[in-house]
Symmetry: C2
Subunit: 275 residues, 2 copies
Protein backbone atom coordinates (compact mmCIF):
# COMPACT_ATOMS: atom_id res chain seq x y z
CA UNK A 1 0.00 0.00 0.00
CA UNK A 2 1.30 3.43 -0.94
CA UNK A 3 1.57 5.96 1.91
CA UNK A 4 -1.06 8.39 0.67
CA UNK A 5 -3.45 5.94 -0.93
CA UNK A 6 -7.10 6.66 -0.32
CA UNK A 7 -9.29 3.94 1.17
CA UNK A 8 -12.30 3.11 -0.97
CA UNK A 9 -15.05 0.67 0.10
CA UNK A 10 -17.48 -1.05 -2.24
CA UNK A 11 -20.43 -1.95 -0.05
CA UNK A 12 -23.66 -3.84 -0.58
CA UNK A 13 -26.20 -6.08 1.08
CA UNK A 14 -25.68 -8.41 -1.91
CA UNK A 15 -22.58 -9.49 -3.79
CA UNK A 16 -21.31 -5.89 -4.14
CA UNK A 17 -20.53 -6.57 -7.81
CA UNK A 18 -22.48 -3.50 -8.89
CA UNK A 19 -20.80 -1.22 -6.34
CA UNK A 20 -17.39 -2.59 -7.30
CA UNK A 21 -17.91 -2.38 -11.06
CA UNK A 22 -19.19 1.19 -10.89
CA UNK A 23 -16.56 2.13 -8.33
CA UNK A 24 -13.64 0.79 -10.33
CA UNK A 25 -14.81 2.68 -13.42
CA UNK A 26 -15.02 5.88 -11.38
CA UNK A 27 -11.58 5.42 -9.82
CA UNK A 28 -10.10 4.78 -13.27
CA UNK A 29 -10.89 8.42 -14.04
CA UNK A 30 -8.22 9.37 -11.49
CA UNK A 31 -5.17 7.49 -12.78
CA UNK A 32 -2.68 9.61 -10.83
CA UNK A 33 -4.23 8.73 -7.49
CA UNK A 34 -3.39 5.66 -5.41
CA UNK A 35 -6.35 3.78 -3.99
CA UNK A 36 -6.66 0.96 -1.51
CA UNK A 37 -9.92 -0.80 -2.38
CA UNK A 38 -12.05 -3.05 -0.16
CA UNK A 39 -15.07 -5.00 -1.35
CA UNK A 40 -17.58 -5.63 1.43
CA UNK A 41 -20.49 -7.84 0.36
CA UNK A 42 -23.51 -9.17 2.29
CA UNK A 43 -23.90 -6.30 4.76
CA UNK A 44 -27.55 -7.18 5.16
CA UNK A 45 -28.42 -6.48 8.80
CA UNK A 46 -28.37 -3.36 10.95
CA UNK A 47 -25.77 -5.02 13.14
CA UNK A 48 -23.42 -5.57 10.20
CA UNK A 49 -24.04 -2.02 8.97
CA UNK A 50 -23.10 -0.59 12.37
CA UNK A 51 -19.98 -2.75 12.51
CA UNK A 52 -19.00 -1.49 9.07
CA UNK A 53 -19.63 2.12 10.13
CA UNK A 54 -17.31 1.63 13.09
CA UNK A 55 -14.62 0.27 10.77
CA UNK A 56 -14.98 3.29 8.47
CA UNK A 57 -14.69 5.72 11.34
CA UNK A 58 -11.55 4.00 12.61
CA UNK A 59 -10.14 4.11 9.07
CA UNK A 60 -10.85 7.87 8.91
CA UNK A 61 -9.05 8.48 12.16
CA UNK A 62 -6.09 6.22 11.40
CA UNK A 63 -5.46 7.35 7.82
CA UNK A 64 -6.18 11.04 8.27
CA UNK A 65 -8.16 10.97 5.00
CA UNK A 66 -11.87 10.81 4.38
CA UNK A 67 -12.60 7.29 3.09
CA UNK A 68 -14.85 6.89 0.05
CA UNK A 69 -17.80 4.48 0.31
CA UNK A 70 -19.64 3.48 -2.84
CA UNK A 71 -22.71 1.53 -1.82
CA UNK A 72 -25.56 -0.06 -3.67
CA UNK A 73 -28.14 -1.30 -1.24
CA UNK A 74 -31.83 -1.02 -1.84
CA UNK A 75 -32.59 -0.98 1.89
CA UNK A 76 -33.23 2.49 3.32
CA UNK A 77 -32.57 1.52 6.95
CA UNK A 78 -29.12 0.18 6.11
CA UNK A 79 -28.26 3.21 3.99
CA UNK A 80 -29.14 5.53 6.88
CA UNK A 81 -26.54 3.88 9.08
CA UNK A 82 -23.87 4.20 6.40
CA UNK A 83 -24.71 7.83 5.64
CA UNK A 84 -23.64 8.80 9.12
CA UNK A 85 -20.10 7.49 8.64
CA UNK A 86 -17.14 9.82 8.51
CA UNK A 87 -16.79 9.23 4.77
CA UNK A 88 -17.79 10.45 1.35
CA UNK A 89 -20.79 8.15 0.87
CA UNK A 90 -21.89 7.67 -2.72
CA UNK A 91 -25.28 6.01 -3.11
CA UNK A 92 -26.15 5.83 -6.82
CA UNK A 93 -29.42 3.99 -6.12
CA UNK A 94 -30.58 6.83 -3.88
CA UNK A 95 -29.88 9.34 -6.63
CA UNK A 96 -31.28 7.38 -9.55
CA UNK A 97 -34.25 5.35 -8.25
CA UNK A 98 -36.53 8.37 -7.72
CA UNK A 99 -35.99 9.39 -11.35
CA UNK A 100 -36.86 5.90 -12.57
CA UNK A 101 -39.91 5.78 -10.29
CA UNK A 102 -41.19 8.97 -11.86
CA UNK A 103 -40.81 7.75 -15.44
CA UNK A 104 -42.19 4.30 -14.67
CA UNK A 105 -44.94 5.78 -12.49
CA UNK A 106 -44.36 3.21 -9.78
CA UNK A 107 -42.41 2.70 -6.57
CA UNK A 108 -39.33 0.53 -6.51
CA UNK A 109 -39.80 -2.76 -4.86
CA UNK A 110 -37.25 -5.01 -3.38
CA UNK A 111 -34.10 -4.33 -1.49
CA UNK A 112 -31.08 -6.13 -2.78
CA UNK A 113 -29.29 -6.72 -6.01
CA UNK A 114 -30.17 -8.52 -9.17
CA UNK A 115 -27.36 -10.97 -8.43
CA UNK A 116 -29.15 -12.17 -5.33
CA UNK A 117 -31.82 -14.07 -7.19
CA UNK A 118 -31.35 -16.89 -9.63
CA UNK A 119 -33.14 -16.84 -12.95
CA UNK A 120 -33.43 -20.59 -13.71
CA UNK A 121 -33.40 -20.23 -17.51
CA UNK A 122 -30.36 -17.95 -17.37
CA UNK A 123 -28.68 -20.44 -15.08
CA UNK A 124 -29.39 -23.31 -17.48
CA UNK A 125 -28.11 -21.37 -20.49
CA UNK A 126 -24.95 -20.44 -18.66
CA UNK A 127 -24.30 -23.98 -17.54
CA UNK A 128 -24.89 -25.35 -21.04
CA UNK A 129 -22.57 -22.73 -22.50
CA UNK A 130 -19.87 -23.44 -19.91
CA UNK A 131 -20.12 -27.20 -20.56
CA UNK A 132 -19.80 -26.46 -24.26
CA UNK A 133 -16.79 -24.15 -23.86
CA UNK A 134 -14.99 -26.66 -21.61
CA UNK A 135 -15.54 -29.54 -24.03
CA UNK A 136 -14.62 -27.53 -27.10
CA UNK A 137 -11.58 -25.75 -25.72
CA UNK A 138 -8.29 -25.78 -27.61
CA UNK A 139 -9.62 -28.07 -30.35
CA UNK A 140 -10.25 -30.74 -27.71
CA UNK A 141 -13.50 -31.86 -29.23
CA UNK A 142 -14.26 -30.86 -32.79
CA UNK A 143 -17.68 -32.43 -33.14
CA UNK A 144 -20.78 -30.29 -32.65
CA UNK A 145 -19.20 -27.18 -34.14
CA UNK A 146 -22.55 -26.68 -35.84
CA UNK A 147 -23.94 -25.84 -32.39
CA UNK A 148 -21.34 -23.13 -31.76
CA UNK A 149 -22.43 -19.50 -31.71
CA UNK A 150 -18.81 -18.62 -32.46
CA UNK A 151 -15.54 -20.50 -33.05
CA UNK A 152 -12.45 -18.51 -32.10
CA UNK A 153 -9.25 -19.32 -33.97
CA UNK A 154 -5.69 -18.13 -33.44
CA UNK A 155 -2.17 -19.15 -32.50
CA UNK A 156 -1.36 -20.51 -29.05
CA UNK A 157 -1.65 -17.79 -26.38
CA UNK A 158 -3.59 -15.25 -28.37
CA UNK A 159 -6.45 -15.15 -25.82
CA UNK A 160 -8.88 -17.76 -27.13
CA UNK A 161 -9.64 -19.69 -23.93
CA UNK A 162 -10.31 -16.75 -21.57
CA UNK A 163 -12.54 -15.15 -24.20
CA UNK A 164 -14.58 -18.33 -24.71
CA UNK A 165 -15.04 -18.82 -20.97
CA UNK A 166 -16.04 -15.21 -20.46
CA UNK A 167 -18.59 -15.37 -23.30
CA UNK A 168 -20.07 -18.52 -21.78
CA UNK A 169 -20.15 -17.36 -18.16
CA UNK A 170 -21.38 -13.81 -18.70
CA UNK A 171 -23.60 -14.17 -21.72
CA UNK A 172 -24.52 -17.84 -22.13
CA UNK A 173 -22.85 -17.84 -25.56
CA UNK A 174 -21.59 -21.19 -26.88
CA UNK A 175 -18.02 -20.49 -27.89
CA UNK A 176 -15.55 -23.09 -29.15
CA UNK A 177 -11.91 -22.44 -29.91
CA UNK A 178 -9.48 -24.07 -32.28
CA UNK A 179 -5.73 -23.48 -32.20
CA UNK A 180 -3.98 -22.83 -35.51
CA UNK A 181 -0.75 -24.84 -35.39
CA UNK A 182 2.32 -24.95 -37.58
CA UNK A 183 0.98 -27.88 -39.57
CA UNK A 184 -2.15 -25.90 -40.43
CA UNK A 185 0.04 -23.11 -41.76
CA UNK A 186 1.61 -25.24 -44.49
CA UNK A 187 -1.62 -25.37 -46.42
CA UNK A 188 -3.63 -22.76 -48.29
CA UNK A 189 -6.77 -24.46 -47.06
CA UNK A 190 -8.51 -24.04 -43.76
CA UNK A 191 -7.84 -26.84 -41.26
CA UNK A 192 -10.25 -29.67 -41.93
CA UNK A 193 -12.24 -29.55 -38.62
CA UNK A 194 -13.16 -25.88 -39.01
CA UNK A 195 -13.45 -25.63 -42.82
CA UNK A 196 -17.21 -26.39 -42.94
CA UNK A 197 -18.00 -23.70 -40.34
CA UNK A 198 -16.54 -20.63 -41.98
CA UNK A 199 -19.44 -18.38 -40.99
CA UNK A 200 -18.85 -19.00 -37.29
CA UNK A 201 -15.08 -18.40 -37.40
CA UNK A 202 -13.55 -15.36 -35.76
CA UNK A 203 -9.81 -14.77 -35.61
CA UNK A 204 -7.63 -13.41 -32.84
CA UNK A 205 -4.18 -12.02 -33.37
CA UNK A 206 -1.75 -10.09 -31.21
CA UNK A 207 1.40 -7.96 -31.37
CA UNK A 208 4.69 -9.81 -31.82
CA UNK A 209 6.36 -8.60 -28.63
CA UNK A 210 3.31 -9.34 -26.51
CA UNK A 211 3.12 -12.91 -27.80
CA UNK A 212 6.83 -13.41 -27.19
CA UNK A 213 6.46 -12.13 -23.61
CA UNK A 214 3.45 -14.31 -22.80
CA UNK A 215 5.04 -17.44 -24.26
CA UNK A 216 8.36 -16.69 -22.58
CA UNK A 217 6.55 -16.72 -19.21
CA UNK A 218 5.36 -20.25 -19.94
CA UNK A 219 8.36 -21.80 -21.71
CA UNK A 220 11.46 -19.65 -21.20
CA UNK A 221 14.15 -19.86 -23.90
CA UNK A 222 12.08 -22.21 -26.04
CA UNK A 223 11.71 -22.20 -29.82
CA UNK A 224 7.97 -21.79 -29.07
CA UNK A 225 8.65 -18.41 -27.42
CA UNK A 226 11.34 -17.21 -29.84
CA UNK A 227 10.80 -14.00 -31.78
CA UNK A 228 11.30 -15.78 -35.10
CA UNK A 229 8.74 -18.47 -34.37
CA UNK A 230 6.16 -16.02 -33.04
CA UNK A 231 6.66 -13.74 -36.07
CA UNK A 232 6.23 -16.67 -38.46
CA UNK A 233 3.04 -17.86 -36.77
CA UNK A 234 1.42 -14.42 -36.55
CA UNK A 235 2.15 -13.69 -40.23
CA UNK A 236 0.83 -17.05 -41.32
CA UNK A 237 -2.36 -16.78 -39.29
CA UNK A 238 -3.11 -13.23 -40.43
CA UNK A 239 -2.60 -14.32 -44.04
CA UNK A 240 -5.03 -17.17 -43.40
CA UNK A 241 -7.66 -14.72 -42.08
CA UNK A 242 -7.28 -12.48 -45.13
CA UNK A 243 -7.25 -15.34 -47.66
CA UNK A 244 -10.46 -16.86 -46.27
CA UNK A 245 -12.19 -13.62 -45.33
CA UNK A 246 -12.27 -14.46 -41.64
CA UNK A 247 -12.93 -11.33 -39.54
CA UNK A 248 -10.33 -10.80 -36.83
CA UNK A 249 -9.12 -8.45 -34.13
CA UNK A 250 -5.78 -7.68 -32.53
CA UNK A 251 -6.18 -8.35 -28.80
CA UNK A 252 -2.86 -6.90 -27.63
CA UNK A 253 -4.26 -3.90 -25.82
CA UNK A 254 -7.59 -5.43 -24.88
CA UNK A 255 -8.93 -6.92 -21.68
CA UNK A 256 -10.93 -10.12 -21.82
CA UNK A 257 -14.04 -7.98 -21.30
CA UNK A 258 -13.26 -5.83 -24.31
CA UNK A 259 -12.40 -8.78 -26.55
CA UNK A 260 -15.73 -10.38 -25.63
CA UNK A 261 -17.74 -7.18 -26.13
CA UNK A 262 -16.21 -6.72 -29.59
CA UNK A 263 -16.86 -10.33 -30.59
CA UNK A 264 -20.52 -9.96 -29.60
CA UNK A 265 -20.90 -6.68 -31.47
CA UNK A 266 -18.97 -7.65 -34.60
CA UNK A 267 -20.83 -10.92 -34.96
CA UNK A 268 -24.25 -9.72 -33.85
CA UNK A 269 -24.35 -12.55 -31.32
CA UNK A 270 -27.50 -13.16 -29.36
CA UNK A 271 -26.88 -12.89 -25.64
CA UNK A 272 -29.01 -14.54 -23.03
CA UNK A 273 -31.58 -12.06 -21.72
CA UNK A 274 -30.58 -11.15 -18.23
CA UNK A 275 -34.10 -10.20 -17.12
Amino acid sequence: MQPNSRHVYFLSNGTAITAETLGMSLLAQFPDHAFQTHTVPFVDTLEKAHAFADEINRCRDASGHLPIVICTMGDDDLIKVIEHCKALVIDPFGDILPRLEKVLATQHHQPGESHRTVNPSLYESRIDAIDYAMQHDDGGKTQNYDEADIILVGVSRSGKTPSCLYLALQFGIKAANYPITEEDMDSDRLPQPIAPFKKQLFGLTTDLQRLVNIREERRPNSRYASTNQCRFELRAVEEMYLRHNIPYINTSKMSVEEISARIIRDNGLHRVDLI
Copy 2:
Protein backbone atom coordinates in the same frame (compact mmCIF):
# COMPACT_ATOMS: atom_id res chain seq x y z
CA MET B 1 -41.10 -8.85 -26.26
CA GLN B 2 -44.07 -7.95 -24.09
CA PRO B 3 -46.38 -5.27 -25.50
CA ASN B 4 -45.75 -2.62 -22.87
CA SER B 5 -42.15 -3.35 -22.11
CA ARG B 6 -39.96 -0.31 -21.68
CA HIS B 7 -36.83 0.04 -23.81
CA VAL B 8 -33.66 0.48 -21.77
CA TYR B 9 -30.26 1.19 -23.33
CA PHE B 10 -26.91 0.59 -21.62
CA LEU B 11 -24.51 2.90 -23.42
CA SER B 12 -20.79 3.54 -23.25
CA ASN B 13 -17.75 4.51 -25.27
CA GLY B 14 -16.12 1.38 -23.79
CA THR B 15 -17.43 -2.13 -23.16
CA ALA B 16 -20.63 -0.85 -21.46
CA ILE B 17 -20.11 -3.41 -18.70
CA THR B 18 -20.43 -0.73 -16.03
CA ALA B 19 -23.59 0.75 -17.52
CA GLU B 20 -25.11 -2.70 -17.91
CA THR B 21 -24.19 -3.91 -14.42
CA LEU B 22 -25.53 -0.80 -12.74
CA GLY B 23 -28.55 -0.72 -15.03
CA MET B 24 -29.54 -4.33 -14.40
CA SER B 25 -29.32 -3.77 -10.63
CA LEU B 26 -31.56 -0.74 -10.95
CA LEU B 27 -34.13 -2.51 -13.12
CA ALA B 28 -34.21 -5.41 -10.65
CA GLN B 29 -35.81 -2.96 -8.21
CA PHE B 30 -38.88 -2.91 -10.48
CA PRO B 31 -39.74 -6.62 -10.72
CA ASP B 32 -43.30 -5.99 -11.90
CA HIS B 33 -42.17 -4.07 -14.97
CA ALA B 34 -41.21 -5.61 -18.31
CA PHE B 35 -38.03 -4.25 -19.89
CA GLN B 36 -36.43 -4.71 -23.26
CA THR B 37 -32.71 -4.11 -22.72
CA HIS B 38 -30.07 -3.18 -25.30
CA THR B 39 -26.35 -3.01 -24.61
CA VAL B 40 -24.56 -0.56 -26.89
CA PRO B 41 -20.77 -0.55 -26.43
CA PHE B 42 -18.00 1.40 -28.18
CA VAL B 43 -19.98 4.55 -28.99
CA ASP B 44 -16.74 6.50 -29.09
CA THR B 45 -17.16 9.14 -31.81
CA LEU B 46 -19.57 12.03 -32.29
CA GLU B 47 -20.83 10.31 -35.43
CA LYS B 48 -21.75 7.16 -33.51
CA ALA B 49 -23.33 9.23 -30.74
CA HIS B 50 -25.54 11.05 -33.24
CA ALA B 51 -26.53 7.77 -34.89
CA PHE B 52 -27.47 6.39 -31.48
CA ALA B 53 -29.47 9.53 -30.67
CA ASP B 54 -31.43 9.07 -33.89
CA GLU B 55 -32.17 5.46 -32.94
CA ILE B 56 -33.43 6.54 -29.52
CA ASN B 57 -35.68 9.17 -30.99
CA ARG B 58 -37.16 6.65 -33.42
CA CYS B 59 -37.69 4.25 -30.51
CA ARG B 60 -39.51 6.98 -28.57
CA ASP B 61 -41.84 7.68 -31.44
CA ALA B 62 -42.47 4.04 -32.33
CA SER B 63 -43.05 2.74 -28.79
CA GLY B 64 -44.92 5.73 -27.40
CA HIS B 65 -42.84 5.44 -24.22
CA LEU B 66 -39.85 7.44 -23.08
CA PRO B 67 -36.83 5.11 -23.40
CA ILE B 68 -34.35 4.93 -20.54
CA VAL B 69 -30.65 5.42 -21.33
CA ILE B 70 -28.07 4.55 -18.70
CA CYS B 71 -24.72 5.73 -19.93
CA THR B 72 -21.23 5.74 -18.53
CA MET B 73 -18.94 7.70 -20.75
CA GLY B 74 -16.23 9.96 -19.44
CA ASP B 75 -16.34 12.13 -22.56
CA ASP B 76 -18.30 15.36 -22.15
CA ASP B 77 -18.82 15.96 -25.86
CA LEU B 78 -20.41 12.55 -26.34
CA ILE B 79 -22.62 12.95 -23.28
CA LYS B 80 -23.94 16.25 -24.60
CA VAL B 81 -25.23 14.55 -27.74
CA ILE B 82 -26.97 11.86 -25.72
CA GLU B 83 -28.51 14.32 -23.26
CA HIS B 84 -30.55 15.81 -26.08
CA CYS B 85 -32.27 12.50 -26.88
CA LYS B 86 -35.95 12.02 -26.24
CA ALA B 87 -35.21 9.75 -23.28
CA LEU B 88 -34.63 9.62 -19.56
CA VAL B 89 -30.84 9.87 -19.65
CA ILE B 90 -29.08 8.67 -16.52
CA ASP B 91 -25.40 9.61 -16.34
CA PRO B 92 -24.00 8.41 -13.01
CA PHE B 93 -20.48 9.63 -13.87
CA GLY B 94 -21.80 13.14 -14.36
CA ASP B 95 -23.45 13.05 -10.95
CA ILE B 96 -20.63 11.42 -9.02
CA LEU B 97 -17.34 12.61 -10.55
CA PRO B 98 -17.64 16.20 -9.25
CA ARG B 99 -18.05 14.87 -5.71
CA LEU B 100 -14.98 12.68 -6.06
CA GLU B 101 -13.00 15.57 -7.57
CA LYS B 102 -13.79 17.68 -4.54
CA VAL B 103 -12.68 15.07 -2.01
CA LEU B 104 -9.58 14.12 -4.00
CA ALA B 105 -8.84 17.78 -4.75
CA THR B 106 -8.11 17.01 -8.39
CA GLN B 107 -9.78 16.88 -11.78
CA HIS B 108 -10.76 13.61 -13.33
CA HIS B 109 -8.60 12.58 -16.18
CA GLN B 110 -9.38 10.21 -18.93
CA PRO B 111 -12.48 9.49 -20.88
CA GLY B 112 -13.37 5.85 -21.08
CA GLU B 113 -13.74 2.92 -18.81
CA SER B 114 -11.36 0.97 -16.67
CA HIS B 115 -12.03 -2.04 -18.89
CA ARG B 116 -10.46 -0.27 -21.82
CA THR B 117 -6.92 -0.55 -20.55
CA VAL B 118 -5.06 -3.72 -19.78
CA ASN B 119 -3.17 -4.05 -16.55
CA PRO B 120 -0.42 -6.55 -17.50
CA SER B 121 -0.01 -8.04 -14.02
CA LEU B 122 -3.78 -8.49 -13.66
CA TYR B 123 -3.83 -10.11 -17.09
CA GLU B 124 -1.05 -12.51 -16.12
CA SER B 125 -2.74 -13.46 -12.85
CA ARG B 126 -6.01 -14.09 -14.60
CA ILE B 127 -4.41 -16.21 -17.28
CA ASP B 128 -2.48 -18.25 -14.73
CA ALA B 129 -5.63 -18.76 -12.67
CA ILE B 130 -7.65 -19.77 -15.75
CA ASP B 131 -4.95 -22.25 -16.81
CA TYR B 132 -5.00 -23.65 -13.29
CA ALA B 133 -8.79 -23.96 -13.14
CA MET B 134 -8.93 -25.66 -16.54
CA GLN B 135 -6.24 -28.19 -15.61
CA HIS B 136 -7.69 -28.91 -12.17
CA ASP B 137 -11.33 -29.12 -13.13
CA ASP B 138 -13.42 -32.10 -12.08
CA GLY B 139 -10.50 -33.89 -10.46
CA GLY B 140 -8.77 -33.96 -13.87
CA LYS B 141 -5.35 -33.26 -12.45
CA THR B 142 -4.80 -33.74 -8.73
CA GLN B 143 -1.18 -32.69 -8.55
CA ASN B 144 -0.32 -29.13 -7.47
CA TYR B 145 -3.23 -28.88 -5.03
CA ASP B 146 -0.76 -27.17 -2.73
CA GLU B 147 -0.87 -24.22 -5.15
CA ALA B 148 -4.65 -23.93 -4.95
CA ASP B 149 -6.18 -20.94 -3.17
CA ILE B 150 -9.30 -23.05 -2.76
CA ILE B 151 -10.45 -26.58 -3.66
CA LEU B 152 -14.19 -26.90 -4.16
CA VAL B 153 -15.73 -30.29 -3.44
CA GLY B 154 -19.25 -31.59 -4.00
CA VAL B 155 -21.38 -34.07 -5.92
CA SER B 156 -21.73 -33.90 -9.68
CA ARG B 157 -23.72 -30.80 -10.76
CA SER B 158 -23.54 -28.87 -7.53
CA GLY B 159 -21.94 -25.83 -9.22
CA LYS B 160 -18.22 -26.49 -8.81
CA THR B 161 -16.98 -25.78 -12.35
CA PRO B 162 -18.78 -22.47 -12.98
CA SER B 163 -17.67 -21.21 -9.57
CA CYS B 164 -14.02 -22.12 -10.19
CA LEU B 165 -14.03 -20.45 -13.61
CA TYR B 166 -15.69 -17.34 -12.25
CA LEU B 167 -13.18 -17.08 -9.38
CA ALA B 168 -10.33 -17.41 -11.87
CA LEU B 169 -11.65 -15.02 -14.51
CA GLN B 170 -12.92 -12.26 -12.24
CA PHE B 171 -10.49 -12.41 -9.38
CA GLY B 172 -7.38 -14.31 -10.48
CA ILE B 173 -8.01 -16.89 -7.76
CA LYS B 174 -6.57 -20.37 -8.31
CA ALA B 175 -9.51 -22.69 -7.74
CA ALA B 176 -9.46 -26.46 -8.23
CA ASN B 177 -12.46 -28.73 -7.92
CA TYR B 178 -12.81 -32.35 -7.00
CA PRO B 179 -16.01 -34.37 -7.47
CA ILE B 180 -17.15 -36.56 -4.59
CA THR B 181 -18.28 -39.84 -6.15
CA GLU B 182 -20.13 -42.85 -4.81
CA GLU B 183 -16.88 -44.69 -4.16
CA ASP B 184 -15.66 -41.84 -1.97
CA MET B 185 -18.86 -42.09 0.06
CA ASP B 186 -18.17 -45.65 1.21
CA SER B 187 -15.33 -44.53 3.42
CA ASP B 188 -15.17 -42.45 6.59
CA ARG B 189 -11.97 -40.92 5.30
CA LEU B 190 -11.53 -38.08 2.89
CA PRO B 191 -10.66 -39.12 -0.66
CA GLN B 192 -6.93 -39.64 -0.91
CA PRO B 193 -6.11 -36.82 -3.40
CA ILE B 194 -7.72 -34.11 -1.25
CA ALA B 195 -7.00 -35.47 2.24
CA PRO B 196 -3.67 -33.60 2.67
CA PHE B 197 -5.25 -30.26 1.73
CA LYS B 198 -8.03 -30.00 4.29
CA LYS B 199 -7.49 -26.31 4.93
CA GLN B 200 -8.19 -25.41 1.30
CA LEU B 201 -11.35 -27.52 1.01
CA PHE B 202 -14.74 -25.87 0.67
CA GLY B 203 -17.95 -27.84 0.14
CA LEU B 204 -20.93 -27.13 -2.08
CA THR B 205 -24.30 -28.72 -1.60
CA THR B 206 -27.74 -28.11 -3.07
CA ASP B 207 -31.43 -28.88 -2.53
CA LEU B 208 -32.62 -32.32 -3.54
CA GLN B 209 -35.20 -31.21 -6.09
CA ARG B 210 -32.83 -28.78 -7.74
CA LEU B 211 -30.15 -31.46 -8.16
CA VAL B 212 -32.72 -33.88 -9.59
CA ASN B 213 -33.89 -31.25 -12.08
CA ILE B 214 -30.40 -30.33 -13.24
CA ARG B 215 -29.32 -33.95 -13.63
CA GLU B 216 -32.58 -34.86 -15.36
CA GLU B 217 -31.80 -32.20 -18.00
CA ARG B 218 -28.52 -33.98 -18.73
CA ARG B 219 -29.42 -37.65 -18.41
CA PRO B 220 -33.20 -38.08 -18.45
CA ASN B 221 -34.62 -41.13 -16.64
CA SER B 222 -31.21 -42.24 -15.43
CA ARG B 223 -30.24 -43.68 -12.06
CA TYR B 224 -27.86 -40.67 -11.86
CA ALA B 225 -30.82 -38.27 -11.93
CA SER B 226 -33.17 -40.32 -9.73
CA THR B 227 -34.49 -38.84 -6.51
CA ASN B 228 -33.13 -41.75 -4.48
CA GLN B 229 -29.63 -41.47 -5.87
CA CYS B 230 -29.51 -37.68 -5.48
CA ARG B 231 -30.81 -37.94 -1.90
CA PHE B 232 -28.20 -40.56 -1.04
CA GLU B 233 -25.35 -38.51 -2.50
CA LEU B 234 -26.38 -35.23 -0.87
CA ARG B 235 -26.73 -36.88 2.55
CA ALA B 236 -23.40 -38.61 2.24
CA VAL B 237 -21.56 -35.49 1.14
CA GLU B 238 -23.08 -33.32 3.87
CA GLU B 239 -22.12 -35.94 6.46
CA MET B 240 -18.60 -35.86 5.05
CA TYR B 241 -18.44 -32.06 5.43
CA LEU B 242 -19.62 -32.27 9.05
CA ARG B 243 -17.37 -35.19 9.99
CA HIS B 244 -14.26 -33.48 8.66
CA ASN B 245 -15.19 -29.90 9.58
CA ILE B 246 -15.24 -28.75 5.98
CA PRO B 247 -17.12 -25.45 5.66
CA TYR B 248 -19.89 -25.56 3.06
CA ILE B 249 -22.78 -23.65 1.54
CA ASN B 250 -26.05 -24.62 -0.12
CA THR B 251 -25.97 -23.12 -3.62
CA SER B 252 -29.60 -23.80 -4.60
CA LYS B 253 -30.79 -20.22 -4.57
CA MET B 254 -27.49 -18.61 -5.49
CA SER B 255 -26.11 -17.26 -8.74
CA VAL B 256 -22.52 -18.05 -9.70
CA GLU B 257 -21.67 -14.48 -8.65
CA GLU B 258 -23.10 -14.99 -5.18
CA ILE B 259 -21.46 -18.38 -4.68
CA SER B 260 -18.11 -16.84 -5.62
CA ALA B 261 -18.57 -13.77 -3.40
CA ARG B 262 -19.40 -16.02 -0.43
CA ILE B 263 -16.42 -18.30 -1.04
CA ILE B 264 -14.11 -15.28 -1.11
CA ARG B 265 -15.58 -13.81 2.05
CA ASP B 266 -15.86 -17.06 4.04
CA ASN B 267 -12.29 -18.06 3.22
CA GLY B 268 -10.71 -14.62 3.38
CA LEU B 269 -9.27 -15.20 -0.09
CA HIS B 270 -6.87 -12.67 -1.53
CA ARG B 271 -8.15 -11.25 -4.77
CA VAL B 272 -5.96 -9.76 -7.42
CA ASP B 273 -5.88 -5.98 -7.01
CA LEU B 274 -7.82 -4.50 -9.87
CA ILE B 275 -5.97 -1.17 -9.82
